[in-house]
């Protein structure tokens, strides 16, 4: 159905606007395809790795294994959606863990140390954002803050790790209702993030800025503050991920592992979040992280070397790119067809 300029009388009695079934199903594949893919993987692995794979305990294991990746992936995704790839995440994570550990060992209450570390993550985001606003490339800026933050973390802990942070186990290995704490944290983070991005004015504007800052500016909105907001959220997620990592091993480590960013980026790319910004959804990112966890879990159950999981993930990623390409070309072809079928009236 293309643009139709109808006489006012006809437009007034308009029937419900609906896209044709084909376009709707293509949009469905684009937006929900990753859920289908995950479901297929689950079914396949249930048969292949039966009976160990399809059990509640194993599901919890997968969720827990995917939790860290999911938290960092949320940070990377929000950054990209808001228009900037934030590479400083591993540095912020290391710094948050070390600051929290340092505070705890120096007698600060645990809750206060956690709040301080999270706030620090947001502050790193503000710094990234403000520097980027001055016209510097965000990738370079965040590489700079990555080094600066991990260096700072090492300075704070004197180059060693801080062991024995047992007061953090409540957000590490502790279980609630049988489910490990990191899984609860991921659930809360993604629920809040999804609501923010899709239901609130600031979230929607942030996505719009990621997609087309100039269009937003011309709508009379100060687009700059939304650019900074993206960095703030990704900094917060980075700090949260760093804290959970620290809590799991009860040890703060100043080494910023670049592997964090690659895992997160894989999950994000699998979820179809375009690096161009402005599009993507957190539930898909979560499933992306879960798919990574699912694959390595199933291969481990079957006693297959873990590097095969990496290879399979890479193939999946390329496959999902191909699918997305196919969907978008098909949609534009359909649109050309329907444009030709359009009618117009009411021209003077």
């Amino acid at each position: 159905m293309a643009v139709t300029i109808a006489p006012a009388a006809r437009a007034a009695g308009a029937e419900k606007d609906k896209d044709p079934a084909v376009i709707r199903s293509l949009i469905f594949v684009r937006d929900r395809g990753i859920f289908v893919l995950w479901a297929l993987l689950l079914i396949a692995f249930s048969i292949w790795a039966s009976p160990y794979f399809a059990s509640v305990d194993n599901a919890i294991l997968i969720a827990n294994a995917a939790a860290i990746t999911a938290i960092f992936a949320a940070g990377v995704a929000v950054g990209i959606i808001g228009g900037a790839l934030d590479l400083s995440i591993p540095g912020t994570a290391a710094l948050a863990g070390c600051v929290c550990g340092w505070l705890i060992t120096h007698g600060t209450p645990t809750w206060l140390s956690i709040v301080a570390a999270l706030a620090l993550g947001a502050v790193v985001g503000v710094i990234n954002g403000l520097i980027t606003l001055r016209g510097f490339n965000p990738i370079i800026v965040t590489i700079g803050t990555l080094s600066a933050m991990s260096g700072l973390a090492a300075v704070i802990v004197g180059g060693y790790t801080i062991p024995g942070l047992d007061s953090l186990t409540f957000m590490g290995t502790q279980r609630y209702l049988g489910v490990p704490a990191p899984v609860w944290i991921v659930a809360a983070l993604f629920a809040a993030g999804t609501v923010f991005l899709t239901r609130t004015r600031d979230g929607i504007r942030m996505m719009a800025v990621g997609g087309n800052p100039e269009a937003v500016r011309r709508s009379g909105i100060h687009s700059n503050r939304y650019k900074v907001l993206g960095f703030v959220i990704s900094g917060f997620c980075a700090a949260l991920g760093g804290l959970v990592t620290t809590a799991l091993v009860t040890e703060a480590n100043p080494a910023a592992s670049p592997g964090i960013i690659f895992n997160a980026l894989t999950a994000v790319a699998l979820a179809g979040v375009s690096l161009a910004g402005g599009r993507g959804s957190l539930p898909r990112v979560l499933v992306g992280a879960l798919i990574l966890g699912t694959i390595s879990n199933a291969l481990t159950l079957k006693g297959i070397q873990p590097y095969w999981a990496t290879a399979v993930t890479g193939v999946l990623l390329l496959g999902s790119l191909a699918l997305e390409k196919w969907v978008s070309t098909t949609v534009s072809r359909r649109l050309v067809l329907s444009a030709h079928a359009s009618t117009h009236t009411g021209t003077r």
């Binding site: 643009v3 300029i5 239901r199 021209t347």
Partner: protein, 257 residues
């Protein structure tokens, strides 16, 4: 007769040593479509940018509904009820039609959720659908992402976005269109043409820059021609023809003034 919706007197505009506009007098009334023709580099875009506050004129006076105005920025002209529809960069591709139409004037939910900044998507969709209907425009469903629209549909949405911001207010505004059909085929040009006409009939003042002479003849009430920064003609469409206009555009025909 009441004063023009937008009136420019003695506008000069220099880009360094380049004199892009030379004492331009021009006006457009409510419900009128003014065509602005001229060869490449004649100063058409520059004139629209002066009207929309992107550039500040070196000399001259701007009046909106008879009241003198100075536009220091695009926000000022928007505030005065002037909307410019850009050829590009106007829409957020990844968002749907409704979100694009509501950007910057979102409807929040009632109650505590609204205080938290929650958007009422349903109300926004309803308003967008109603506004599009009032314009007599039928695009795709308002939940369709803009990136899944054809070029003509996008142009119509961009136009509608400008239009809903000038037509909704208590006083009709001014819509500036810089080559809105440049990338469109015959069919889609017809659609945009119909929309411009409909807006004018609702009382919006439109200024249309185009290189498409038949379009200008079909949709405009009056046509002004620029030649190297000077206005060389300003005539009702009924009193001119293709050959005359081409003469003014190329400079083969002497200025009316």
């Amino acid at each position: 007769m009441d004063s023009p919706a937008l009136e420019l007197r003695g506008i000069d505009m220099h880009y360094g040593y380049v004199r892009a506009l030379d004492t331009i007098d021009i006006e457009v009334r409510q419900g009128e479509v003014l065509g602005l023709l001229g060869d490449n580099g004649a100063g058409k875009s520059t004139l629209l940018k002066v009207m929309s506050g992107v550039h500040q004129p070196t000399a001259g006076e701007i009046r909106v509904h008879g009241t003198p105005a100075t536009f220091a920025s695009p926000a000022d002209s928007t505030h005065a009820g002037i909307q410019m529809v850009y050829q590009d960069l106007a829409l957020v591709d990844a968002q749907d039609i409704s979100t694009n139409l509501n950007l910057g004037r979102e409807i929040l939910r009632k109650g505590p959720l609204g205080w938290l900044g929650f958007v009422d998507h349903k109300a926004q969709r309803r308003r967008s659908a109603a506004e599009l209907e009032k314009l007599g425009v039928r695009t795709a469903a308002v939940t369709r992402p803009v990136e899944m629209l054809s070029g003509g549909q996008r142009q119509v949405v961009a136009l509608a976005r400008g239009a809903t911001r000038v037509a909704g207010a208590e006083r009709n505004g001014v819509l500036l269109l810089d080559e809105p059909t440049a990338a469109l085929g015959y069919e889609q040009t017809q659609q945009v043409q119909a929309l411009i006409r409909r807006l004018a009939d609702q009382g919006v003042a439109c200024i249309l820059v185009t290189h498409n002479l038949p379009l200008a003849m079909a949709v405009c009430d009056r046509i002004a021609v620029l030649n190297r920064g000077r206005k060389v003609a300003d005539v009702p469409v009924a009193e001119t023809d293709n050959d005359q206009l081409v003469g003014w555009i190329t400079g083969a025909r002497p200025s009316m003034f």
